[in-house]
Subunit: 598 residues, 2 copies
């Protein structure tokens, strides 16, 4: 069976120990890997033959169910997964403990993801009323095989009367629609998923996806958001505190300016680096608001903050280069570094350092291959700024060591003061050659408008221009024109009002969490996030979020999205939602936690 | 001196022969390379010392001039470049012939670009009234040094009376504004450009840009377009036939739909794969117009066709993978493959195969590392479609060999019939698992709106979703909504009218070029490009375009943008311009060519 929705290669045996270090190489490694099967493996066939001989009839590898169960027995409302211990991280089994010696980061992440996916999918299937049985590879060794298969048979037939009702009625429909029951002797289609080969009727080889495509992680905040949306669509009243989208929308003047663009004019491409007037306006904004001089030619307009971060990674990262990032931090930054072959070095941080890098931490995690430090301040998910002194010290260290400083200031203009009362400053005030990424999405409330910018050191401008041309041609032309309306005193006043509103909401959240008995370890002073520790509830963060959504109808984001250090202990709440929604959401979280604590 | 506007590392000596194969590696190679200087090299210092001793005073490495001349003598209206023979490809000099044995493609491209840039910059400087002198490294060997330096002195002082007037008055201003003359003894600032280290006052190391940033090429069509814009801004009446932008703009209904979006609603992110309704509409469009069934879930909405191509490369290409591309073809495709570590295998094509890949050519250029074939049909720059039989044969071959088929159908809906009268079909009609990239920019005239789409094989959808999330979050939200208006019968009728108009224009261009004596080798049946051979004029294509712009005030695009095979012989004319503009442009080209032929 495969461990996901057509996802990744799986076999029932571990990759050879003689694996090459560091990289997939097409010549040998990937060829070998491409022949590892995800379906119709020996243990799968063994289980099927046994069940068939016992007179059971079933479908195999049914793609209509999460995880493509190896054996589907509609009559018994039972699904059987036959899992390799290595690929599915069989807990307590020695085979599962053997993470390959090379490419450790890749394998660890991959296998953890497999396990996580398994858990999620099994839970989903059970919620739909299925009896889910897992047969492990190690149980099918010669000594235990017979006993296990006999037991499996009884688990199937004896379970017949305990069918639970599916929560999602839609899924049961799949069942009744179909009566295509096949035995193990049916057609072999070796659907493999991401890592895979094969699968179409002509039996020809499927091309391999790139390594980066295989290791790309989803942004789970969006996954939980999508789940919440689905529930809302089905009529459930969910309070969504999971996504980083201000509820204000763009200021009215920007809407007006945008409408004016659509009078029939052609709206051609702009220069790849963007509209000169807009670059000038941003330069003026830096001067007036942040008291730093930035030559407009150093400002590149991008298709959202994401694109700015993408270009930063493209501009700096070579294969094997290491990039230091605070753990926890914004997940896409990590993914972009990995997409260009870089290695993300997650530096565990804590409330003690306001969840930011420090020079000491950087020194500790520095290596010969360190190519950049990446800082998001104010931080997503913690909402905390890095103290200016610390920022300067980290940048000085990195510069002295010849590394890039990539600073994501997407939330900068939403920041409150530093804890010591001083103003929050741009990194450009201490490090004019840092690469800065920013966005119109947060302070200006223009999330779906996909507009951002970068500040690039002068000597990198030409390369930047070439990369931007090749990657995007240019950012959205009319939006660039309309964005000029962001920098009028009137619009800035609107944005300032909204910032003040966010500070009020912060108060509600900080107080509310405290009352619930989940006080913040460090108070946010920027963005619109509160990152709170749920360890005391006895749940891990993923389960907390899953249950909070299903039981209390509040959408939150688990710490796992933001790294490893706080993956199981912390949860992000976004207070880019109305005061009413926040009060209601906090009430529900409070009730939920109270229930947990009995 | 550096050979460009703060561009790339330069030294006066060639890289060591012991260069590692294949790749820059940070540990050794890039460290060594980072210490190669672009300024204040020994030969530069030798020249400066000599001139200083002769009593001349000058500025050095002045960044205000193209190429940052090593010695600037305003008094004598003279600039001196002291050039390493290897880095600047000194013609006829043995040192310049020694292209490194490893990374041949990289070095060849890099050095050719250096030379091209030198030529361009020197021409620009001379046009501005400067006397430009190049001193070559090989002329400064012990035997010839004294003679060369003496001669240089006379070249400088004797040239004093022959100052030409600058074409661009603006540049002369730089001159009069400044009297900061320094000798060689001044502060050393080792500005290095792309590949470089150093440069700020604190003398700390500049981080290295990534390999991909260093090798990224500009899209020259846009460079020529920008030059044309500059001339237009200065009052010159230029006919722009250089850019691939329809002059129609988007259909009125799409403008209307867009305006409606801006009524103050929040416009949040959509799902990374795009708005479900729009994906459905595109699926319907495939069914109705192209008679192919595409599951809407296989359609991903992207931020323009560029992003679709970027994601295609990201999804498929690993380090060292080879991708077969017709030469000539759209330059960004090449660059995107290179950006992800892939090697572009340019397959030379000709009018005989309508400038497209054939199965025979693919077999000839196939290797163990071939990972994908990339086809643009109708082609940019040739406007020709690949015959459906040929397309099918190429796709079959690639599929059988386990390679991806990436087909850019950006211009598909502008296509006329095939030469044999049959309808032009989507690749999906013969290869449902091909990756298709498309765009709203051409048929729907929405260039600056940055919206495109992809069709992805089902088993790659999950990876695609993750990559799209990390790279972009989503495409422009309101544009996605407005694009729904593209698929109404009314809008499609408007687009069809425009297509007919393009066919009329094609007639003007085909006939016009024929009359000029530059008949097309193969007639375009799609897009809005004519790719014509100017070999008979006695000029290379770059010079042809440069002189056509300066002398005849017509902006065209040189073949070099599209590969090597036709780099010097062919020129692209875009007929996405009004009939009047086309007639006037053709008249100017005709006069220009007549003048050339005397």
């Amino acid at each position: 069976m495969t461990a996901g929705n057509s996802k990744r290669a799986h076999s029932k045996t571990k990759p050879r120990k003689t694996a090459r270090p560091e990289k997939y190489e097409r010549g040998t490694r990937s060829y070998t890997m491409s022949h590892i099967r995800g379906k119709d493996t020996s243990i799968e066939r063994m289980v099927r033959s046994f069940l068939f001989a016992k007179g059971l009839r079933f479908r195999k590898n049914d793609k209509r169910y999460p995880g493509h169960p190896d054996v589907v027995l509609p009559k018994y409302h039972t699904l059987v997964f036959v899992n390799g211990c290595f690929w599915h991280m069989h807990e307590g089994c020695p085979k599962s403990a053997r993470i390959p010696k090379s490419n450790v980061e890749f394998w660890t992440a991959k296998l953890l993801r497999n396990r996580e996916r398994d858990m999620r999918q099994h839970a989903e299937l059970e919620a739909d009323g299925w009896n889910v049985i897992v047969v492990w590879e190690c149980e099918l060794g010669k000594k235990t095989r017979d006993e296990r298969l006999e037991r499996l048979y009884h688990e199937i037939v004896d379970e017949r009367n305990v069918r639970r009702d599916g929560i999602h009625a839609g899924r049961s429909q799949i069942e009744t629609d179909s009566n295509r029951l096949v035995s193990d002797g049916g057609r072999r289609d070796t659907e493999r998923g991401r890592n895979g080969s094969m699968g179409n009727t002509e039996n020809s080889a499927r091309p391999q996806m790139s390594h980066r495509a295989q290791i790309a992680n989803p942004f789970r905040a969006m996954v939980f958001g999508a789940l919440a949306d689905e529930m809302i669509a089905n009529g459930t009243d969910v309070v969504k505190l999971s996504l980083g989208e201000p509820d204000f929308g763009a200021p009215p003047a920007v809407h007006d300016a945008m409408r004016e663009q659509y009078d029939g004019r052609p709206l051609p491409y702009t220069a790849a680096m963007g509209l000169p007037e807009l670059r000038q306006a941003i330069s003026d904004f830096y001067r007036d608001r942040h008291h730093v001089d930035v030559d407009p030619k150093r400002i590149a307009i991008t298709a959202g903050g994401s694109t700015a971060l993408l270009l930063s990674a493209a501009l700096t990262v070579n294969d094997g280069d290491e990039v230091l990032i605070a753990d926890p931090s914004y997940p896409c930054n990590r993914e972009l570094v990995r997409a260009f072959g870089g290695k993300v070095v997650d530096v565990p941080t804590s409330a003690a350092n306001r969840f930011h890098l420090t020079p000491e931490l950087c020194k500790e995690y520095w290596s010969d291959r360190t190519k950049a430090v990446m800082i998001t301040s104010p931080s997503n998910p913690t909402g905390t700024t890095i103290a200016f002194d610390t920022l300067k010290a980290v940048c000085d260290l990195a510069r002295e060591r010849g590394a890039w400083r990539i600073v994501d200031e997407t939330y900068l203009d939403l920041a409150d003061r530093e804890p010591d009362g001083s103003e929050v400053k741009s990194v450009l005030a201490c490090d004019p050659d840092a690469i800065v990424c920013s966005s119109f999405s947060k302070f200006f409330g223009m999330t779906g408008w996909r507009l951002g910018w970068m500040v690039v050191p002068e000597y990198a401008l030409e390369a930047m221009d070439d990369l931007a041309t090749n990657f995007f041609l240019c950012a959205h032309t009319p939006t660039q024109h309309a964005a000029l309306a962001c920098f009028t005193p009137e619009t800035l006043a609107v944005c300032e009002e909204r910032r003040q509103e966010l500070l009020e909401r912060r108060r509600i959240v900080v107080d509310g969490l405290s009352e619930i008995g989940l006080p913040l370890e460090v108070e946010p002073n920027g963005a619109f996030y509160a990152y709170f520790n749920i360890f005391s509830t006895g749940l891990d963060a993923w389960t907390f979020c899953e249950r909070a959504l299903k039981e209390a109808h509040v959408a939150l984001t688990p710490g796992r999205d933001f790294g490893e250090a706080t993956a199981d202990t912390h949860v992000r709440l976004s207070y880019a939602a109305s005061r009413e929604a926040l009060r209601e959401g906090l009430k529900r979280i409070g009730d939920f936690v109270a229930k947990l604590r009995g």
